[in-house]
Amino acid sequence: MKDGVISKQDFPQFLNHLKKNAKVFAPVVTNGEAGFKEWSEEDSVEFSYSNLKLSPKGLFFPQTETILSFDAGSVEEVPSHEEKMVVFGSRPCDSRALTFLDKIFSEENKGYNDPYYMNRRENAVMISLACSDPCRTCFCSSLGSGPADEAGSDIVCFDLGDKLYLKAVTEKGELTIKDAGKVLSPGDESVRKDAEKQTAEALESMNNLEADLPSVKKNMDDSFDDPVWDRLTRNCIGCGACTYLCPTCYCFDISDEERMYKGKRIRTWDSCQYASFTKHASGHNPRKNKKERLRQRFMHKLSYTVENQGEVFCVGCGRCITQCPVNIDIREIITTFAEK
């Protein structure tokens, strides 16, 4: 079974079914804000968001996680994360972002496998919720993606008003739909058409940056010392909001927390926007000013990762645009270098 349909009313049955074998995460409103939360029957799944404030990145790469613990000099490894997990309601852009993180954390990145992230990924099923109503700050379609992009998803779900259409896009997704055969009715031509139509309309409504990404990269590489960077970075206040909200930012710190010889080594999100990120113990700092740090952020996404991972590390979710306290807009950065 490659696809299935379920009414919104019966949808909790589907989640309940999934819950038998896995932890189910879905967007739920807590404290007035929708965000991923472990779903239980009392929770009603939120469908009315365009983009969640925080992407599901943190489910695989938590902001703080223990990588080992120690007691009086002896090290104990953290048991590997083998728990099954289903994530429902990730936007396609956020799911696609995970495929980028995979390239960083998997063995294909110079032979080092990051067991914490990779184990969680391998044990998870991603059910993305295709976008019917993209935001004005969304620009996934300018980055070779779109409102129902399948990258990173196992199943893509379409919200068709009173019902949901689930379409498997990987073997894992197929198995999941097959396994839930009892609560799903099979998809038919009409829902498939509706889903296609919805996606086409959503795509139509999006603004396109019309930027040729390879030339953006080239122009950026050629303009490393260009004074344009002074102009583009002047109003940055140097917070890390953009990096922490970004679904593709993955930089981290490792530090020890200890009390009386007992403690743990933790990995935490870190931001290239902080001076301490690159400051040597000697006090020397290769990226001393915000200009260099912001340039690093954009060049990392639009040039370095293209070279190293073959991808522009931006999925066009627009979070950094809407949440930046001074409206530094990555779209402007892209178009600036597209035109150069």
């Binding site: 000099g73 981290f252 020890d256 990120f277 690159t278 400051k279 113990a281 070279e307």
Partner: protein, 284 residues
Amino acid sequence: MSAEAKNPYIPYPVTIEDITIENDARDLKTFKLVFEKPEHKKAFSYLPGQFAEVSVLGMGESPFGIASSPTEEDYLLFTVKLTGTVTQELHNSEPGRKIGVRGPLGNTFPWDRMEGKNILIVSGGFAFTTLRSSIVYMLDKKNRDRFGKITALYGARSPGELMYKEALKEWQEDSGIDLTLTVDREPEVPWDGKVGLVPNVLRELKPSADNTLALVCGPPIMIRFTIPALQELGFTEENIILSLENRMKCGIGKCGRCNVGSKYVCIDGPVFTFAELEELPAEY
């Protein structure tokens, strides 16, 4: 160890067997570490130029160039300058303390390219660590024939600041290497080495660039003035080999902070040719 992939974040347990104070200022100490388990010792197979994360539980990890040579099979050496919390804790340690080592990490000096070549080593201050490793490695009986003439110039502020004093003495008597020592100013103690800054002494020594690779490690200011001197002597950009340092955490190309342009010092480096560095922004 199991057959499955190793968790690259878990350090190997090691014991500090010996601690040597290297300089008069007493802020440089060399730690001799031995693995607790033979399989870890075996797994830790390295070549000069590489580094490792030295881990002090509760304080954290710091990357240091490996100062021992693979030919010194029973132990690892790290020379540590007192600067931050981890190094403070190490300096306060006594032999017998158990710590951790994660590695080996990074690339090596270009040993394939160095085969059959003359080798010039230029170093200043406490950046001499991986070059000590290289010299010991090349002078080993098994390896000496693989290289041509080996010339080394090593400088420090004063005689008391030169590291590895025992080894220096041995090398001065070794016909396999031509070692010159220099100090910045005329010292108050008896001194039969040179007096002068490394780049100046280098110009005076005029080592031949013919069929020669230059390995250069030192403080940024020394590097800045040594490179023109080498170029005057005829060394090409490809034949000048440098080792970079940047702030690191993971050491395995994931945490994202040690990059210089698109290159990560921990994975693509720390060893780069000057030609490679010329292509990169100066973010180091």
